[in-house]
Subunit: 564 residues, 2 copies
Amino acid sequence: MKDTTYGLGLDFGTNSVRALLVDLGNGRELATAVHDYPSGRAGIVLDPKNPDLARQNPADYLLGIEAAVKRTLAAARKIRPRFRPEEVVGLGVDTTGSTPLPVDASGEPLAFRKAFRRNPNAMAWLWKDHTGFAEAAEITALAAGHHPEYLAKCGGTYSSEWFFSKILHCLRTDPAVFEAAASWVECCDYIPAVLVGETRPDRIKRSRCAAGHKAMFNDAWGGLPARDFLARLDPGLGELRGRLYDKTFTADVRTGGLSKDWARRLGLVEGTAVAAGAFDAHLGAVGLGVAPGKFVKIIGTSTCDICVWPNNLELADIPGLCGIVDGSVLPGYYGLEAGQSAVGDIFNWFVEYLRPGGPRKGSHEELTRLAAKLRPGQSGLLALDWNNGNRTVLVDQRLTGLLLGQTLHTRPEEIYRALIEATAFGSLTIIKRFEDYGVRIDEVRNCGGIAEKNPLVMQIYADVTGLEMKIARSSQTCALGAAIAGAVAAGPAAGGHKDFPSAQAAMTGIRPRTYKPNPERHAVYAELYPLYRRLHDAFGTKDGPGSLYDVMKDLLAIRDRQLC
Amino acid sequence: MKDTTYGLGLDFGTNSVRALLVDLGNGRELATAVHDYPSGRAGIVLDPKNPDLARQNPADYLLGIEAAVKRTLAAARKIRPRFRPEEVVGLGVDTTGSTPLPVDASGEPLAFRKAFRRNPNAMAWLWKDHTGFAEAAEITALAAGHHPEYLAKCGGTYSSEWFFSKILHCLRTDPAVFEAAASWVECCDYIPAVLVGETRPDRIKRSRCAAGHKAMFNDAWGGLPARDFLARLDPGLGELRGRLYDKTFTADVRTGGLSKDWARRLGLVEGTAVAAGAFDAHLGAVGLGVAPGKFVKIIGTSTCDICVWPNNLELADIPGLCGIVDGSVLPGYYGLEAGQSAVGDIFNWFVEYLRPGGPRKGSHEELTRLAAKLRPGQSGLLALDWNNGNRTVLVDQRLTGLLLGQTLHTRPEEIYRALIEATAFGSLTIIKRFEDYGVRIDEVRNCGGIAEKNPLVMQIYADVTGLEMKIARSSQTCALGAAIAGAVAAGPAAGGHKDFPSAQAAMTGIRPRTYKPNPERHAVYAELYPLYRRLHDAFGTKDGPGSLYDVMKDLLAIRDRQLC
């Protein structure tokens, strides 16, 4: 038994991969390094003719692992000269998703073949690729008619960002790639498989998280959607089902041991435990200390909101959620995923696109400083946080922003504050949806740059929701969660942990400064929120008398016609 | 008979008075001069403790006449050395309104008395003084219950900007001033009275325009509102009625001859015809060539929209108009007044308060240049033009702005164009209201800085309304209209004109460049306008299922509470 053991978390993001070395005893983050993907634009392969297309070169992943891990270990040795590779007892992997890639029978990405080297369809289809929007609508329609239960677990709408939309779009538009693919694997399945040296598609341990949230996998209906269902979309898709998977694994499971080859390349020990992969937000939730009653928010350009609920307690299908998947976050618990399509992106839009306030007053810092002086309701403004659509609870990307209450004296910081408040109201709407379906929420744990750096945003969130806002101690909760997965996959005998909760107890925490709701401000927001809901329901739902649902839709239809 | 004759127009604005010398034969503007009012802030006496208060020192008017006329005549002599004062055959006066001032029995403003010299309540109550908002609501409520016919001629709501609201507020809050006042006169009644040297309140020729639009004067019910009605508001107000007036005069009527004293002070000829006064917008309409079918728009920070209709043809009460007054613009015609509470002010708000676009891209010129490249509907944006409330047809100052359709890529010029389009939709709503009640509109004549200088605004107005937009030849249509009134008051024998139409035929005109609707763009706006109306009706009216009327109201109520 070693005195000190470490977990190594590998966090594959949209533009780069991060490695993080964490002390398994206390969660101390010894060293970290980031490697930017070299391909495309900031790591994303784009198509100037098609703004929906976003791909990644899987070669970037492999180069990135080596570069990021080596630099992390070198940094660790500098900080702690006694550091030895064998102290690293487990590796975990989190990635974006759904980011599937087509592979051959040996598990080699088709993108590595000469014939497909420059073909984006043979690469990884990045989460934010929307080329399959028509196929998504087709899948949603078919499921609504024949298998509503499929949709009930993923918010009622199958997204263009998800597994089958992408594969079906490939089948339709690039049959050569589809035909050449022996199977399709999620990025979070592929990386652990590479590290353990077992990439044959039928032997890869597939992620419960990815399968359940993005591929409609559920043991209740025998795993993936029925072959008939898929065949009805296209016979080729039905035929593919047998070459996908019928078993999935939670992220505490050991996929295997680090291969000899990769141990050498990384400077680690052969056989070191590698955990099954999962998505970034879900392992981020683990790194944030998610547990029943602890709602976590990963706040970035958008948010991912996650909570868990014991899988031995009854839980209704919750309409409008991104997904409800047993074991997607913690084994033994339903993982419940929600989110807001834009949060930081809305603030960035205001600052970077509108560039308000003249030459000196338009920075986030200055707008925040001025907005902090305002009282709730003082500006008379109210906004909807839909500049990038609404992911939860309306599940509608074709919604747009709204700002109401402008006078001839409305100032930029008032709008900035209204936009912050709009995202807070959006968050409250998600929290209420959980609570309406019996999920208890006692506290909110936040992470991400905005949560760490903008106390005004956090205070407004506390004042709007009436809940205390806590901030993760770690700035890298996703990579931390991946390291925790590695630690649990290694197990206590190897110096790891026995399960997620004990690892979380040892390794995660919150910062001393928290944000408590101010009763007076909360009272004003309690008056404003019903007005937000009036607008939310009028523009976001078809039901009810006098719905204005079609106003935004008609505007988009006119816009699309004018742009083409 | 002289070869060349001139009319002198005196245009009393919010911040200054302008004199304009116009050739009565061809409308050529020989010379002009502006004198800024010295009192208060830009001529407006304010109260730092009460943003509703806006007064003017009547001494500024008298100093201003002398300064502006003398400079105008001096300029005229430079341009035309043969110019002689006796060639000026008539003077006309237009002013803001309702701008009433309390006077003593000799017609001297109370503000000139030592006792009241620093008392704003003894000054002229400028049109935009809103201190009487509670009294306005009281008058509206009483009239709605007892004399709905009073309200039917002024849009259904009696405004805080109008005559009796202001006087009643003075009575309630400063009885010493109210008691000292022998009568109250509109600024447009006071100035001509001063010039002819007959200011005794019972001998002043009161303006039909001011009386009809602002004091509920109508021959159909015996002039001013009934004594009982006024007494019910306050016995003192009922008692005042007898010291006001029972006759009114159109602006073609000769009030009298220029007094000896004022002839000397101005360097003009004693006995020169002085016309009865009227409001700036109404004489501006005359200067724009208003006639049946010719709808005129005076576009500034707000707009005033005016048209006329023969008073021997049937005309229903038109709900939501600012006023319907026989003879307020042209004798023999109903003067119909409408308007938008903010037009240029909305564009100025965007540029000056939001200061969008970073250091170099936020000017009106640059935003206009970029907005001109956009196609209708292309931005997906839709706005309501209510940043300063809605004057016509909703008659509701407590409405606020709305912007809808923002994405993460919305740019300042897209919003700028949406704001222009919103004011165009607002204008179309007014035009449709006239047409719905049988008033024919064939063309639109515009004046004001925006109309002259911003072709994009005019083209959008043409494309939205489907009507040709014409621009006044004169940049000073109000002062031109006043000069025309002087010419008609002088009459043909003195070298003037016999009536308004013949003076207009000789002296007014439009510029060669007009703006014709583009059929393709009009077709897109024909799709967008119903969406504007959906928002207009949802937020602006209480009727209909799912009205969102109270959203803006509740926000303002919360705001007001937070501010106090």
